[in-house]
Amino acid sequence: MVAPQLPDGLVAVVKRDCATCCLVVPVLGEIAARGRPLTVYTQDDPEFPETAAPRVDDRELVVSWHHRIETVPTLLRIENGVEVARTEGWSRPDWEALAEVSPLGATLPARRPGCGSLSVDPANSDDLRVRFEGERLKARRIELGDIEDEIETAFVRGWTDGLPVVPPTPARVLNMLDGTRRAPDEVIAIVPPDLVPVTVEKVAINAVMAGCKPEYLPVVLAAVKAACTDAFNMHGLLCTTFFSGPVLVVNGPIARDIGMNSGVNCMGQGNRANATIGRALQLVVRNVGGGVPGGIDRATFGGPGKHTFCFAEDEAGSPWEPLSVERGFAPGTSTVSLFPGHGPSAIVDQISRTPESLARSLAAKLRAVSHPKLVMGMGAMLVVSPEHARVFAAAGWTKARLRAELDALLMIDGSELARGAGGIDEGIPAAIAQGRKLPKFRDGDLAIVHAGGSAGMFSAIIEGWVSGERGSQLTTAEVVP
């Protein structure tokens, strides 16, 4: 709806249910008596104030909403249809300056704060917003009958991941869209498996359902973008019989700004941003992309991380550069990185106090990713805890040093890997294994980040899926407002 134009001259917006508005009624009379053109809009009682004319009934709050009236009384000066000055509440010097009339309200106190405008009253504002801004929303509207439960409806229509969702009403979606500067109709990605263009609005709808706050939306949008790239290959990750799903690691100031957890229990329950951002991505893939478990999602087991698997890197406590910087972004840039993974699984080492010993511990467990006899096929994300990172930091090991040491420790003799070796038929073809050492991970397939609570001499492995161009690659997108 287009904002209604205000008449030139002075405009006052008032309501009867406001002591300050009642206080300034004589002042409005003084302004009119001095021949200044004055129009009064009243929010609650079209007869108020009895002495003022012309008086315009704004009980529908069309003028108040569109001209962003937050306080009554508000006095505006309009020239050629454009607002050039505004004052809120009663302030004699401000009213005198704006009305170019002096003295004004000589018998009144010099100042009185105003009251809340009905157009911003929380009891009205959502309804008003839908009435006046609802046309921004293009998604199909579904009217529920009086006896239909909105949460049950979401289940019946197949919109949920098995947990209840927040009903995506137009008011909630409009509020969600406040979280981004992007236009609601901007297409941000093509979502597999059905290859459906997804708009900011559709992401916002699913973010509402997931339980996100508006300030999380830019992270969700970046995650959707990253997921829907050839490099990340969400299509394959969804369809596979394997356990994995997208694991989100958030870097940069946005993580702190929206209250993400990078510390105690960061991969567990309890933090709204961690829990709902990962969930929102999964709901987009399900609802927009058509990726339904048991349909095109053929996972043998799946995993709890397919509800949500999202945490922030602990950058402040890390001895190393953050993942985002390794991925080529400037320090201080907010990013979300997607890794195709599942888990976590634990590496316990409470004894090692030298980096050499601890690296061997980590390598021993990393060797078992997917299978101790399979190499170069699947990646991993090693999440080093503060107590383990401390050991490396004390010895001056950089992240690059740790990775180089792990790479060296994870060169495995082919004789241990061949099919049949160790009495295990699984393994790699003898022709490939024979007479050489092979790396557990190919270049770029082992990511290292720092997170977790300050107590616990454990680190975490998030095991990966098919890595590299054949499968899914760690993919990072910048979070933009």
């Binding site: 929303l137 199909r140 509207r141 579904i142 009086d146 927009v288 058509g290």
Partner: protein, 92 residues
């Protein structure tokens, strides 16, 4: 009070396409055998190729670059142009 919800889906309906007509017989036909690059898929497909050849079909072998991604459109077009039918090993 009536509640309005916004549709979170892609608001699309899949297009219904009729299945291609079945081959009445294999003799004299060219049949594609598409390996999706899964381990040991070749074991199954080698045998399929033998059996198809024994029934008088000409077998052409194709391979997807990776099992994790849909077959590239060029590969799909080539198979459609060069063959009368296709057998695809879909899983392990």
């Amino acid at each position: 009070m009536t509640t309005t919800l916004l549709d979170p889906t892609g608001e699309r309906r899949s297009v219904e396409r009729p299945a291609a007509s079945r081959l009445p017989a294999l003799a004299g036909k060219t049949v594609a055998v598409l390996d999706i690059s899964k381990p040991r898929g070749d074991v199954f497909l080698d045998r399929m190729a033998e059996l198809l050849a024994a029934r008088g079909a000409t077998v052409r072998r194709y391979t997807k670059p990776t099992f994790t991604k849909p077959a590239p459109i060029d590969l799909r077009r080539r198979i459609a142009e060069e063959c009368d039918g296709v057998i695809e090993g879909l899983a392990d």
